[in-house]
């Protein structure tokens, strides 16, 4: 026997905390079919053996859906979603310290005629502030059962379960479900007037206003301190992603190295061994290595989001982002893309406006992700002399900085272009709540991180695994003929494809070797370093590859070719995972294909211009 209930409530009312308290780790996260709205469901078994399945609906202020998330919440509540059985009971969650606004949704839902129960969450905060609401009177006025809770401390959860169980066993009342119609502005006004009337009757003490949020905001939103703090947070994030992540990344690398060595010594030579070692372990490994960075980034994002800081960052950055036609909410996804475009694109979910969200997704892969770093380091070390500029700056560092700037400038310029063409529309608007600051709960963050890593590992285990196998096959077959003089890869399918695309890449200064290396590099940027090593037949351990490869490249390539390849790396879309996640987030193949085409065109033109200019400067 299963009872289906759904949690509804305003954003920031503690709905997810209640969901976590109810279901713990028995949660399943997926997407609603056909849309990118996250569907969170979990279950809980009561003492008497009744299974309650709980659906955590996206937060919404009313049923007048303005975003895809809100539309889903509305459709589930109204039973209009064909893939979702309508919930039998609606659990409306309200932040007890903000009933003035939170009760509006309850009144709207109650008017539908479905069984509704109201959860007054965050009772502890109400008590601390001296807010005293007469729960019984409120229940009488509203005509629904009211259950006070502190979701993060699990207070009130048993009472809620007991009530749901009682409701389940109660003889089915004749439920008159009234037809829902979009409320007029006057309906909204009337609802709030009713809320005011009820609260006047049921509030025993208004309590103190929340002072901490105000105090914190005076620092966080201060022109000088606030900006400094934001820069500090960003610096810390980068520090974490680039240095702290190194240690676990090395463990993963060592583990994979050990695994590869084990395969190498214990398996007989042959296709299977090559597939395992060169295909699967190195392919999936190249992606798994990023897991620590992605987890750290999400740890930061979850912490900033749950504490309430994230919307302050958006508030601070809104004016700057507004200059390129986006709103402040695009800031964090773009910033995250510096580590990796995948979590960056996933983080665009917080952008309400669809046009803004699409623009952000499309430009996110232009920011300099960490996968470009190995290639940048290799080429800079090989081609850029480490001379001093102005006495204290090193030329190599300046070039690196230039590459990073090149990425962000390209992203901002493209954002302007997309907003003026593809996603033309009314000026972007900003309307967001700045929630009360909260200390994030360990439970919420842990569950959030688990969810993200599951998503990432699942993808590495499916999409990337199969691609690695395909690439391995292309690079290994057919074998080099007897007495071959050139590296084996030259005779493989990959070599043939490289040869076939060479004429197209020649104008950019790329020979067949670079063309061949670009093929696996298309799947994941950093793989190109290894691929170049294969092409130039460098016999060296992974860690020494770059060091050994540098001088060889310096001898074989002109400076013009190197510069052209660097520009190519800033702009080209060489990441299958990014395309896969774009497909998932936009729910259509159209956008990943568009992304691939526009970025490749951009890269081609820019590399061509760079190459010609460099030749003209005499760097050929």
């Amino acid at each position: 026997m299963t009872l289906r209930v759904a949690l509804a409530g305003n954003p920031n009312c503690g709905k997810t905390a209640l969901f976590n308290a109810l279901t713990g780790s028995r949660q399943k996260v997926a997407n609603y079919p056909g849309v990118t709205v996250e569907r969170k469901e979990g279950s809980v078994k009561t003492a008497s053996g009744l299974t309650i399945s709980v659906l955590d609906l996206p937060g919404t202020y009313s049923l007048d859906a303005h975003t895809p998330d809100e539309a889903i919440a509305r459709d589930v509540i109204l039973g209009k979603l064909s893939t979702e059985a309508p919930p039998r009971i609606l659990v409306v969650v309200a932040d007890v310290t903000n009933l003035e606004r939170n009760l509006g949704l309850l009144l709207e839902l109650k008017s539908l005629g479905k069984p509704v129960v109201l959860v007054l969450n965050m009772m502890d905060l109400a008590i601390r502030r001296g807010i005293d609401v007469d729960v019984q009177a409120l229940s009488k006025e509203l005509g629904v059962t009211v259950i006070p809770t502190v979701a993060v401390k699990r207070t009130g959860i048993p009472e809620l379960l007991q009530h749901l169980e009682k409701e389940f066993h109660a003889p089915a009342e004749e439920v008159i479900v009234r037809e829902w119609k979009k409320s007029s502005p006057d309906d909204v006004r009337a609802r709030f007037a009713e809320v005011d009337r009820i609260l006047k009757k049921c509030t025993r003490k208004v309590g103190q206003p929340e002072i901490w949020t105000d105090k914190i905001d005076h620092v966080v939103l201060h022109p000088v301190y606030g900006t400094t703090l934001l820069l500090g947070v960003l610096a810390l994030m980068f520090q974490a992603i680039f240095t702290w992540a190194k240690i676990p990344q090395e463990w993963i690398q060592e583990g994979l190295g050990w695994l590869g060595a084990a395969v190498g010594t214990h398996m007989p030579d042959g296709a299977l061994k090559s597939l395992l070692a060169d295909g699967i372990i190195s392919g999936v490994g190249a992606v798994l290595v990023f897991l620590p960075q992605i987890l750290l980034l999400f740890l930061f994002i979850l912490f900033l989001e749950d504490s309430g800081y994230m919307s302050r960052a958006a508030f601070l950055m809104d004016r700057l982002m507004g200059k390129v036609g986006l709103n402040g909410r695009a800031f964090i996804p773009l910033l995250s893309s510096y580590a990796c475009a995948i979590p960056g694109i996933m983080a665009t979910r917080t952008i309400e406006n669809k046009r803004d969200r699409m623009t952000t997704i499309l430009v996110a892969p232009l920011t300099t992700c960490s996968a470009r770093l190995p290639v940048y380091s290799l080429l800079i070390a090989a081609f850029i002399p480490n001379t001093s500029v102005l006495g204290f700056l090193k030329l190599q560092g300046l070039v690196m900085l230039g590459l990073y700037l090149g990425g962000i400038i390209a992203a901002l310029v493209m954002a302007v272009i997309f907003k003026k063409t593809l996603f033309k529309g009314a000026k972007p608007q900003l309307l967001m709540e700045l929630p009360t600051y909260k200390w994030p709960s360990l439970r919420g963050i842990t569950l959030g991180l688990l969810e993200r890593s599951k998503l990432f590992v699942r993808r590495a285990g499916t999409v990337i695994l199969s691609l690695s196998v395909i690439l391995w096959f292309l690079a290994s077959y057919p074998h080099a003929p007897e007495g071959a003089t050139e590296p084996a890869i030259r005779y493989s399918y990959a070599g043939k494809i490289g040869g076939a695309i060479e004429p197209f890449l020649k104008p950019l200064g790329f020979d067949w070797r670079i063309s061949v290396a670009l093929i696996p590099g298309f799947a994941a940027r950093e793989v190109m370093v290894g691929a170049l090593a294969t092409v130039y037949a460098v016999e060296a351990k992974e860690s020494e590859t770059a060091a050994a490869l540098g001088p060889i490249l310096a001898k074989n390539w002109s400076l013009a070719t190197a510069l052209s390849l660097l520009v190519w790396y800033i702009l080209a879309c060489q990441c299958l995972s990014t395309l896969a996640v774009t497909r998932r987030e936009t729910n259509s193949w159209r956008w990943p294909i568009f992304m691939l085409v526009y970025m490749t065109t951009l890269a081609y033109v820019a590399s061509f211009v760079t190459y010609r200019l460099a030749l003209w400067a005499g760097w050929g």
């Binding site: 202020y61 009313s62 007048d64 303005h66 310290t97 903000n98 009933l99 003035e100 606004r101 509006g104 007029s184 502005p185 909204v188 006004r189 709030f192 949020t213 105000d214 905001d217 939103l221 201060h222 022109p223 000088v224 606030g226 900006t227 919307s311 958006a314 508030f315 601070l316 809104d318 004016r319 507004g322 402040g328 000026k427 608007q429 900003l430 309307l431 967001m432 709540e433 700045l434 929630p435 009360t436």
Partner: protein, 78 residues
């Protein structure tokens, strides 16, 4: 007592919402749902650095951020 556009108010000023322009438009409906309705008191609590835009308002127990341009849809009595 005089009527002003909400977007013209400075930090620390309060007003009583008198009218919302174009109240059936998508954006204005959103304002209503977030509690920006006639009769609610609003206070400008924060201004973003560099130009003072966007602004953060306290209304019906919550803190809401929007740009001055959009805040101008709301007429308040100061």
């Amino acid at each position: 007592m005089n009527l002003r556009k909400l977007g013209e108010l400075k930090k620390g000023m309060r007003g009583l919402i008198k009218r919302i322009d174009d109240s059936s438009s998508e954006f204005s409906r959103r304002l209503l749902e977030m509690g920006l309705i006639e009769g609610s008191t609003v206070e400008i609590v924060h201004e973003a650095p560099f130009g003072g835009d966007p602004i953060a308002l306290r209304v019906r127990g919550s803190l809401v951020a929007l740009r001055r341009n959009e805040a101008n849809r709301i007429e308040v009595e100061v």
